[in-house]
Amino acid sequence: MTTSKLGPVNNWEDDFDILDGAYLNNPFEIWDHLRNSCPIAHSDRRGSNWLPTTYEDITKIAHDVATFSSTQVLVIPFIESQSFSYENINPEVLGYGAPPITADPPLHTWTRRLILPWFSHKKVSEYEPLTQAICKKLIDEFSKRTTIDGATEYAQQIPVRVISHILGVPEDMTDIFTTWVRDFLEFADNSENRFNSIKEIVLYLIGVIEERKILISKGQHLDDMISFLIQEQNNNPEIDDAIVLGMSILLLIAGIDTTWSAIGSALWHLGKNPNDLLMLKQQPEIMDTAIEEILRAYSPVTMARVVTKDTEFNGCPMKQGEKVLMNFPAANRDPKVFENPETVNLKRKINRHVAFGSGIHRCGGANLARMELRIAISTFIDNLPDFIVDNDDDVIWAGGQVRGPRKLPLTFIK
């Protein structure tokens, strides 16, 4: 079991570390323990952070956006000496962060309304054939083999290609995007790499936006999402260049390792539970509840909030500037809300999960994520033989901001 660079955890109540090896591999027991003993843990590693573990606490905090601001959503903060004022980039260029995810109302409200129609059911269904074709092509490449890495050869390849299409950026950039996003979110303890990754993302997107502006000014019709934001600048003076850049950063980052993680976790679950794999193959009509159950049981995303004023929350003295880690994955394992939460029941009828968050920051891309997850799983099980996870010791889980398998050896049973 690996320990994080900050050393082993001896006390989860007062000194938790979400990058500790035990937490990455099996956070469920730690949450159960904390829910009974605490239920809000605290740690001074990586700044002063609170970690709620109950559904009630987490959804309450999510709804109190005046006390718990979204202006700092990173679970692993940047180190203080790092700022965006470096070569070629004016610090003001990122003045808004990446709205709407890093914004509070009113900035959050109107920036969110701009992008929501791009992820409506109707719009998302237009990306379905493309997603299917991506999945099919990946499967064709390995369908003759007996083993694959389900994480890197399949799950990882899907969402990044779909979002590249939506943003109108070339598919040959997908490996680079994946590296940037992993350096930014997954390997956040390596602060130099992380800083370089966000710098690369910013410089790349500044270039893309400049290029699109020139094409649009020449009268070219572009129907990708970044071009849409640029063209909306004519209708709304509030959409300045920093808003376009910040929103583009969000759109690039948010849909890559999150959905990849969910697809990987789904494959892991099916590879570990042959009865569930068989049931899903024989009863495709349960796919909708199966998807929601996978999202509940293996929720990938934890976001942060920053406390705006000293407050006491459920007995905890939270000080202005401290962070709260929005442990949606733990909320979804709360036995007060979910019957037998540790049991993954693909037919679970009542499942009020908050894998996509709760309140005004509900994941804007949720419909896209669900569609990708559904198509990825159904295409996989429809076109390939049954499969198993041979050896759990070979599986590598990432965690922190986004939890999911990063190495997932699957063996096909011919």
Binding site: L116, P117, S120, R352, F356, R362
Partner: protein
């Protein structure tokens, strides 16, 4: 049975629409609205209860 979506609570999770598209419609922003102002068809009552019990924002109201 009558159903209503509390627009001040709905955050567009779409859970009700996925469970019961016969009862709910979603707009371009993802917000859900009931298709029925009057009593819903009796054979959809079970689906209405399920939609209500799966809403993460407790936004669906049912009146028998």
């Amino acid at each position: 049975m009558k159903i209503r979506v509390d627009e001040s609570k709905c955050q567009g999770h779409s859970r009700c629409y996925i469970i019961a598209p016969e009862l709910f419609e979603v707009d371009d922003y993802g917000y859900s609205h009931s298709r029925f102002e009057t009593d819903i068809p009796a054979d959809l009552e079970e689906k209405a209860r399920l939609a209500c019990e799966n809403c993460p924002e407790f936004a669906i109201e049912i009146a028998d």
